[in-house]
């Protein structure tokens, strides 16, 4: 299969066309503000999900705590901006926070691989969540932090249009960077490790280093998404970045078909669309059922199970072949 569907030039334009259609439909149907707000969210989720796609889809490892890396990016951004650093200059710090987090989370399992990566990233995420809640002098604990608008040299991204533009630009840059990276020897090394670790090692690939690099790049992307997310939401607290968010990102990569980076955007669209669709469905239900507090959880779980059972290779995976 082609390694990088988005390599710039014409294919990128063709890949963008269905998105233009989706955006126009959403604008006409949902109203400008709502649609642009959701577009911002979809693009930001897609950047965070891209991190999971790199780790899970390209390098074939498993990451169960990606939300913690988003949290590190978000807190780095929020704290720097609060101290007067312009938002675009704080973003590299958010990216670095995510990358360092990715390295730390995967370090203990680097020689074991497989499920152990899942365990160490999960443990790291739980430690980060707890630390953010406990380190009150810095993070204000569970009370959370307010984050100002994305501002730079007198310009503020206050309107939904400006926010959508910034996040779509970030997504485009991230996709471009990923496409270049995946076409390089790093990307080839990741896919070699995914498909057959022994053969990859025999070809002279440092498999431990390749896996670590995937986690670092994945963490950097999630950190970037966190930095932007903090501005869009305007308020961050530790419990936003819990286990459920981590699984949403996994689900996003899975739906998108973890092997193709463009899949991250489709997965983000589905993940962002699920909660509103569930609340629409819930309003249609008769009587007491609509008011039951567990219904959303039940339906969300059912969607996950249904997607996994119906399309084990993801929605954008073309239905062929198994993933690793």
């Amino acid at each position: 299969m082609s390694a990088a569907p988005l390599r710039g030039g014409m294919p990128a334009v063709r890949a963008a066309l269905p998105w233009l259609a989706v955006l126009l439909l959403a604008l006409a149907w949902l109203g400008t503000d709502y649609a642009l707000g959701k577009a911002t969210l979809v693009a930001t989720y897609a950047v965070a999900g891209l991190g999971v796609v790199v780790v899970v889809g390209q390098a074939g490892q498993i990451a169960l705590g990606q939300a913690a890396l988003v949290a590190l990016g978000a807190y780095a951004q929020a704290l720097l901006v609060a101290r007067g650093v312009p938002a675009p200059l704080a973003l590299p710090a958010a990216v670095a926070a995510g990358a360092i987090g990715g390295a730390l989370a995967s370090l203990p399992a680097r020689r074991l691989g497989g499920l152990y990566f899942g365990m160490s990233t999960l443990a790291f995420a739980l430690i980060v969540e707890e630390a953010l809640a406990r380190w009150e002098s810095l993070t204000h604990g569970a009370a959370g932090l307010a984050v100002g608008a994305f501002a730079f040299a007198g310009w503020r991204a206050d309107s939904t249009l400006a926010q959508a533009a910034v996040s779509v630009a970030a997504l485009a840059l991230a996709l471009l960077a990923c496409a270049r990276l995946l076409a390089s020897r790093h990307g080839r090394a990741w896919r070699a490790v995914r498909d057959d670790e022994l053969a990859a090692a025999a070809c002279g690939i440092d498999t431990d280093a390749a896996k670590m690099q995937a986690f670092v790049v994945g963490g950097a992307l999630s950190g970037l998404a966190g930095g932007l997310y903090a501005h869009w939401i305007g308020f961050i607290s530790p419990e936003q970045f819990g286990l459920v968010f981590s699984f949403e990102l996994l689900m996003l990569a899975f739906i998108g078909g973890a092997r193709r980076i463009a899949g991250a955007a489709w997965g983000a669209l589905v993940i962002v669309a699920i909660p509103p669709l569930i609340s629409v469905l819930r309003d249609r239900l008769p009587g007491d059922w609509a008011r039951a507090s567990g219904l959303e959880l039940l339906l969300f779980g059912a969607v996950i199970v249904a997607v996994v059972l119906l399309r084990p290779a993801g929605l954008a995976g073309g239905g062929q072949g198994r993933e690793r």
Binding site: Y116, F124, V305
Partner: protein, 288 residues
């Protein structure tokens, strides 16, 4: 000194619960190579099933508890037959998402019952303390420890001395060879899930008098992952021992370290153990 012994006892008791959940996780992982993220939800379901049968249907507590454990075990078998079987041989991600989704459905299902969603419930177990001289131990803790020892003995006997136990072990060692020896591997997978689910439900019943019954009691299963890893991921006794070790370490950390450090301890230990002892503390020579 007295406080120390009391903290130790409660650490061992909560550690037994971690150990049982880790045991159920390892049992399923070994037999089917599937990662289950819903052991905590099965635990919660077991406790609520017993509560519902006792408090609302009016069954005697012992009957309700046995029925709840059997019911959750049957649920595990049914889920394996219908859904989880599809994750066999697939990458871990499929099983992880599938079980997480199923767990969400269980939590959502219980939360949809208005009487269950409200707040904490308690099973009418003995809530008093046992005084040995100046030492006061919670009877619920002693119950948990005694039940875990009994259960471990029963499981050991099952795996050593019954044909089914031997067949299950053979499946865990090498499914292909087991199939060639005439062992019905598919049926063993169903059995492993039933046993794993029932064990989680038992852990829920044991936890009920300690933390009460509430919707989020299943989060305790997150501590079972460190226990499973410390035990080497494939060793049943290792998982149980590591669970008790974690419970004690956590209790002592609560005594010695500042507030809040207690919640980090299992995860820090997990990462340290992976870094220093990649084969698990048992040295990777785990047996069933």
């Amino acid at each position: 000194m007295l406080a120390f012994v009391q903290v130790l006892a409660s650490g061992v008791a909560i550690g037994c619960v971690y150990g049982l959940v880790a045991l159920s996780f390892v049992l399923i992982y070994k037999a089917t190579e599937t990662v289950s993220f819903m052991q905590g939800d099965l635990l919660m379901l077991g406790a609520f099933a017993a509560l519902g049968l006792h408090a609302f249907a009016g069954w005697p507590l012992v009957v309700a508890a046995v029925a709840a454990v059997l019911g959750v075990g049957v649920l595990g078998a049914v889920l394996e037959r219908t859904v989880l079987r599809r994750a066999l041989g697939q990458p871990h991600l499929v099983a992880v998402l599938l079980t997480f989704g199923l767990g969400m459905m269980m939590r959502g299902g219980v939360a949809s019952v208005p009487a269950a969603a409200q707040d904490m419930h308690r099973l009418p177990f003995a809530a008093d303390t046992l005084a040995i001289g100046p030492l006061a131990l919670a009877t619920s803790h002693l119950w948990v420890i005694a039940a875990t020892v009994l259960l471990a003995g029963l499981l050991a006997a099952f795996f050593r001395h019954t044909r089914t136990g031997l067949a299950l072990r053979a499946c865990s060692e090498d499914a292909r060879s087991a199939a060639l020896m005439g062992i019905p591997v598919a049926r063993m997978h169903t059995l492993a899930w039933a046993l794993g689910a029932a064990l989680a439900a038992i852990a829920g019943l044991l936890l009920a008098p300690v933390t009460f019954v509430h919707l989020n009691m299943g989060f305790i299963a997150l501590k079972a992952f460190p226990a499973a890893v410390l035990g080497g991921l494939t060793s049943l006794p290792g998982a149980l021992v590591a669970g008790v070790f974690l419970g004690v370490a956590e209790a002592l950390a609560g005594l010695a370290l500042p507030e809040g450090a207690k919640d980090f301890v299992p995860y820090v230990l997990l990462m340290a153990a992976l870094l220093l002892f990649p084969q698990g503390l048992g040295g990777g020579r785990g047996r069933a």
